[in-house]
Symmetry: C2
Subunit: 497 residues, 2 copies
């Protein structure tokens, strides 16, 4: 044990432990590990101090601490080591083991989450979901945050209003009213740290475990896993050129509690939900007591004409929870998103939200509120729309140049990505894997389909092809880069044919 | 309709809508609201432009947009309004209504969350959980964040490593190894936005819905609601002077999947879990396949001697998930906490975590890593320990001066709060309410007990009094302030007796 002490004394010089801490720790560890057994009388403090060449006070300190913590009892005959290895526990009932318990794995619900496939590997070219970070006005944003930080008073460093900074809720309400036709007051706006958290709150606040949620198929995987993690039953609904194609009989026979969709820019296919379907959705949801979760993740980046107004704002008091995020329009690392709940539920949501969530980050929220109110946010968006339009055009042209007959662009009206159909007789997953080695991050469309469900299964409104193609993000690709990347992709395809 | 257009044109000048947007929006709203019925032929663009005194192109733009969005069909005979009010939906099945569905309330699981009582109302004096914000080195922290922000490259503004910034995971692992005796590597550390999120992940990653979680009674309400929200079955375990007092037969008869506890500084009573119970806990948890959640929220602020080492580090590969936070040691608005999972589960947790969570906030994480590594964090803690010790002493002296015979301090060895027993024949909740009007935020101990369960019910080790007293936070109270506050409280009590 004393050898261990000396070894540690040398090894830990850099950790700045005092000698007394070190001695205490060595003794404690030795007792716990059974190297010093129960009943042992420790050397007197004087003896040990001499032996180790340290101050006697250091030894006394270590012994006292061991006594305080129950490792040692001080008696007239010296310091006696206690029995700290507990008696073998009486035969315990085991918790019914998780399936295949040998390795003591995670809960069933954690293990059953479909893992997030990294299609990219190390590749990043054409990945969707990340905006043009190099075009972000980082210096301007830094200034905004620094100014906000200087204005923060110490008293604001505590737990903030759990729904978010009032100034930011106000700025967002104002902004989405004008830009997205959302009908709301600031008290309906709840700040979250992004859409994943918004979705988790929706799943748990608006549905109970076992209830049905309709999801688009193919659809956004992040929403799917969050709904699964909340114990909901996923019901895939096919998507066609006019968006999610629910049938009348679905509403009659097995109505959902929640309907999750991306109406402005369907993820991943890119289509827009038709007005007729939007109105029908509201009508049906009202009739059967369902809630619509409208994920409006990038609607403001529409290139061909202004974005369609939200479902939320098509009528007063729609049964819609509207989700927005600044991850696409500003940058993902900001971690600020929001959900806008129906007016009649705002107070109830505030109560549940306050119970579960803690909020803070006052400087970042204040900076964002000011960024929006000053008009800099809208200006940034205008710049980005132009940039993305140029990049979209570049990518489309590159596909037409290099991949005619092999791939067809099927939806490219907005956002930061487009979807393409693979016309060559190849599997998108196989192509994606081959392309990764060449630095391309292609997300295969088939991976967005719920396992075992084809894109089409004869249901009304669904087209009759299995989804085979890619989601291509162009936010980070200049037209020149896109051209080179598509030339590479053409080579990859030709090698596989 | 045109009157509406003109009214809006005046009202919305400040919203900077263009005339064409405004016309489009007015027409859209009128069609949706049924003011312009299906089949109506809209005035020709020339006529309407003259009538409104706006450019014909603006009218053409608005009409085109309405056509695109499906509100209007362009025919040879002019623009005809479509049928946009859908046929009354066919009689829909209703989702089995949430109980008392009239107001379309939240899910049952959201409504059943015990609401977070604000004992304080507007009062803040003596609230627990908020550190001495005015003593926080805000300028120093600001400099650290600004430096980190200047070093952030645009490419780091995307989604970060979902487990957190590697530099911060490394700094935390290093720090807790030395300061808390935690045995871990950086890959076991997961950065979260605070203990509430850590707890939610624990509840869902390590237990399935319906499984038992043991919680301390009285105990931390934030943990209780999170476990409830995750669908777990709460089993209250009494607490005595040596911490959570589980009985051998509890382990045999109804073993838990999770055990949640605050061993270093029991919340709210303030006691420390004995070494014997720590070891027994590990032994039993191992035997029955349970996980221990060790919430070490403020252990480093211990005043009487160094903090006890963590349960996690008492042996190799303990079945412990260790939770830490910077909300108490730095400030709550930072929103950074962490969980440290067992080594053998690190890879599985990383997969599930990556699937559900998105991470970012690279500048704040880098600033915190640097704050820890440079030793400034440890220095700040030393300063705070001294400050809190002085304030603790001040509050204890004030209680003895003004409340002798009415209240007894029962645990004050560390942290930022102490607990007191109410000796006067009064109910803590009633006293708390009366004191609120005088600016005091007293958290009644009885509110931390699970409803219907007394602090003691004859179980081994539990003392035999019902908890009646308060949790008093002294972080923000100077000795002078504490003296005045206790004088006020004495008045409140005397008025009630």
């Amino acid at each position: 044990m004393m050898a261990a002490y000396e070894r540690k004394a040398r090894a830990s010089a850099s950790r700045k432990l005092t000698q007394q801490d070190l001695l205490y720790e060595s003794l404690r560890r030795a007792i716990l590990d059974g190297d010093i057994v129960c009943g042992t009388r420790l050397a007197s403090s004087r003896t040990l101090a001499e032996e180790l060449g340290i101050a006697r006070n250091s030894v006394l300190y270590a012994y006292e601490r061991l006594v305080e913590e129950g490792f040692v009892t001080a008696t007239r005959h010296g310091s006696i080591v206690n029995h700290v290895k507990p008696a073998a526990a009486q035969p315990a009932a085991r918790v019914p083991p998780h399936e295949g318990d040998a390795a003591r794995p995670l809960s069933r619900r954690a293990r059953e989450l479909p893992p997030r496939r990294a299609w990219a590997g190390g590749a990043t070219a054409l990945r969707p979901g990340t905006p043009a970070l190099d075009a972000f006005p980082l210096a301007q944003w830094r200034t905004a945050v620094e100014r906000a930080m200087r204005e923060v008073h110490a008293s604001e460093l505590g737990y903030g209003d759990s729904a978010g900074l009032p100034a930011l809720r106000h700025a967002i309400a104002q902004y989405v009213r004008v830009s997205r036709g959302v009908r709301c007051q600031p008290d309906q706006v709840f700040i979250t740290d992004g859409t994943q958290t918004s979705l988790d709150l929706c799943a748990r606040f608006f549905a109970d475990a076992g209830e049905r949620v309709w999801i688009e198929n193919p659809g956004y995987l992040g929403a799917r896993v969050t709904m699964l993690a909340a114990g909901l039953t996923l019901v895939p609904v096919p998507v066609d050129a006019a968006g999610m194609a629910a049938r009348e009989e679905d509403w009659r026979e097995a109505p959902p509690r929640l309907v999750y969709l991306t109406p402005s820019h369907q993820y991943p296919l890119g289509c827009v939900l038709s007005l007729e379907r939007r109105l029908a959705l509201i009508e049906h949801a009202r009739a059967c007591g369902a809630w619509i979760i409208e994920d409006d993740y990038d609607s403001e980046l529409r290139h061909d004409g202004p974005p369609l107004p939200s479902i939320q704002g098509l009528a007063d008091d729609t049964p819609v929870i509207y989700l927005g995020t600044f991850s696409k329009t500003l940058f993902p690392a900001l971690r600020i998103g929001f959900m806008i709940v129906p007016r009649q539920l705002a107070a109830q949501v505030a109560t549940a939200h306050r119970t579960l969530m803690r909020q803070g980050r006052v400087a970042e929220q204040a900076a964002l509120a000011e960024f929006i109110e000053s008009g800099r946010y809208a200006r940034h968006l205008r710049r980005m729309r132009k940039l993305y339009e140029t990049r979209r055009d570049g990518l489309v042209a590159a596909i037409e140049t290099h991949l005619a007959g092999l791939m067809t662009v099927s939806a490219d009206a907005g956002g930061m990505h487009l979807s393409v159909r693979l016309d060559a007789p190849l599997e998108d997953v196989a192509v994606s894997e081959a392309a990764r080695a060449r630095g391309l991050a292609l997300s295969p469309l088939s991976a967005f389909c719920l396992d075992g469900v084809d894109g089409a299964d004869g249901t009304a409104g669904a087209d009759s092809v299995r989804y085979n193609g890619f989601l291509l993000g162009y936010a980070e690709a200049t037209p020149e880069a896109a051209d080179a990347l598509m030339a590479t992709l053409a080579e990859v395809l030709r090698e596989m044919l």
